[in-house]
Amino acid sequence: MDLLEFQGKQLFAHVGVPVPEGRVAAAPGEARAAAEELGGRVVVKAQVRVGGRGKAGGIKAADGPQAAEEAAATILGMDIRGHRVNLVWVERATEIAAEWYVSFTLDRGVGRHLAMVSARGGMDIEAVAASDPAAVVRRHIDPVVGLADWQAADLVYRAGLERTAARPAAATLRRLYRAFVDLDCDLVEVNPLVLTAGGEVIALDAKVTLDSNAFFRHRDFEAFREAFQEDPIERLAREKGLGFIKLDGSVGIIGNGAGLVMSTLDVVSLVGGAAANFLDVGGGAGAETISGALEVLTRDPAVKAVLVNIFGGITRCDLVAQGIVTALGERELPWPIVVRLDGTNAPEGRAILAEAASERVIPAATMLEAAQRAVELAGGR
């Protein structure tokens, strides 16, 4: 789960990484009040869960309360790469002596943590990494041992961070790494981590991605969602424990397992249709999960036909069929459902559907046949 900048900064402050003082504002007047409280020069920053805010004009400096209010009025409501700005973060401006880049993430290729540090942080870090790879120092960290003190120092010196600030820089790296591990993050990225004119090391930005699989030991993290602008269909799907992504087509997709669902999207596209969504019911889905998935699709007016593609393993096809029958009984479904069942208890599942004898349900023998039929019923692309 991606956090907003100000939420990431809350976590940083909690682990002892200095961040500029600031306030959240949802309206220009609130930004003005925040600037008055903070005093002096401030920066008004769009709070969206996507990169490229600076280039999109979502970050503006302001000399005082009036300018802060005006900046917030411009930024609030902006669309940044498909994300509407509903909140801004107003923080005390920092006098910057140097801008660095720091991140900790998991390198899936080798299955170890990866630290990346550069003395050339800022908006163009990806371009720097592409044109001058040596400018970004990369070091793998053994997750069993963690970031050793010598490694933090090695990163600082090899990246060429200002020598006068080597100690606080290394200490900041160690704290950020602890946050990455102890708070179960998939990503901790600070761009820029700055050295101030006064010699302090401060995180001017925070990109934090939390691992929702670990929320059982961080119960308070769920509350971060309150600040997100979540699509109502996506929220319903999440509350029902479904993996859901809205897409542009007209064939509603329900499947079990991310791989099979992705493959279903591909096949629907190859036979001339387009999927309205990605919906993975996960492993071991019961009848309630399936009827819930169908309910989610009823909320999307773009759906013209539904394709249920299940290959049972830990998921039992009889329970899937029961879920479809339940949904048919609970509500008027506005579209035909093409159903393909194979694997665990598939014959039982097919029998349940045959017995229900609903004209809304169209059985299909193979994945390809099911995709062709669903695309046809949805009226093509």
Partner: protein, 289 residues
């Protein structure tokens, strides 16, 4: 021969008394797998349809000579259960079905196993391993399998079933089917499984099922090119998946353009693997080898 599991497998099921554990353990036993013990802390002395339950893995191994474990322990406790299994003398394979283990736990456990005991871990978040006609260790629907000479390896559970189904309906049997799982830090990689298939005299060809994300398929392609003499048929899912809206720069800096379905297909084709477009073509492509 087959790989990982066969007639010599003596299976222990961790959390045998749970709903999924008991259901699939009994299915595996019905298939002919030698299910010798279960572990559920606090329930030692009970049995599940005749399979004795122990409090700890070491006690179960001592009493029954179990050499393989199948783990259904819930995500918050699963990484501990894997470490417990790895510590038991004589344990030669750990298969973990559990979905949703925190990535930090997984990274620690996988690296620890690599550095210490070296016991192979398949999964987590995988469907397990089946050597048709010999043993099923996991949740794969064995009804769709047929004994034979094609090895199957996949990151996706249900796509594994789809691939096996395509083979079996054409009368093409399988030596072993391995689901390595789609988690960020899988215990076993494509390369680990490919090297076993290459060495297995009963495997004549391999089907590899990949998906977008990470670089496992690219690594597999490099291995195929350098070391495989047996033909490989591959399928990649995710050509039309929307690009992930990643927030930070780190992902882009690490991977550049790799990780897309097109890049994986290209890498595998450059290694002389046959890459099919539809999952339904897997059977045809293997038949045509």
């Amino acid at each position: 021969m087959a790989i990982y599991v066969d007639e010599t497998t003596r299976l222990l099921v961790q959390n045998l008394t749970g709903r999924e554990g008991s259901f699939h353990a009994m299915r595996n036993r019905a298939y002919g797998t030698n299910v010798v013990a279960g572990v559920s802390p606090g329930k030692g002395g009970q049995d599940v349809q005749g399979v004795p339950v122990f409090d700890t893995v070491s006690a179960a191994v001592e009493a029954t000579g179990a050499n393989t474990t199948l783990c259904f322990v819930p995500a918050p406790f699963a990484s501990d259960a894997i470490l417990e299994a790895a510590a038991a003398p004589g344990m030669r394979l750990i298969v973990c079905i559990t979905e949703g283990i925190p990535a930090q736990d997984e990274a620690r456990v996988v690296n620890y196993l690599r550095q210490t005991t070296g016991v192979p871990l398949i999964g987590p978040n995988c469907p397990g391993v089946i050597s048709p006609g010999k043993a099923n260790v996991g949740i794969m629907p064995h009804e769709i399998c047929l004994p034979g000479r094609v090895g199957v390896v996949s990151r996706s559970g249900t796509l594994t079933y789809q691939a096996v189904h395509e083979l079996t309906t054409r009368g093409i049997g399988q030596s072993t089917c391995v689901g390595i799982g789609g988690d960020p830090v899988p215990g076993t990689s494509f390369v680990d499984v490919l090297s076993r298939f290459e060495a297995d005299p009963e495997t004549e060809a391999v089907v590899l099922i990949g998906e977008i994300g990470g670089e496992a398929e690219e690594q597999a392609a490099a291995f195929i090119k350098a070391h495989m003499t047996k033909p490989v048929v591959a399928y990649i899912a995710g050509f039309t998946a929307p690009p992930g809206k990643k927030m930070g720069h780190a992902g882009a800096i690490i991977s550049g353009s790799s990780g897309t379905a097109a890049a994986k297909k290209e890498a595998l084709e450059a290694a002389d693997a046959v890459v099919v477009t539809y999952p339904t073509e897997i059977g045809e492509a293997v038949a045509a080898l």
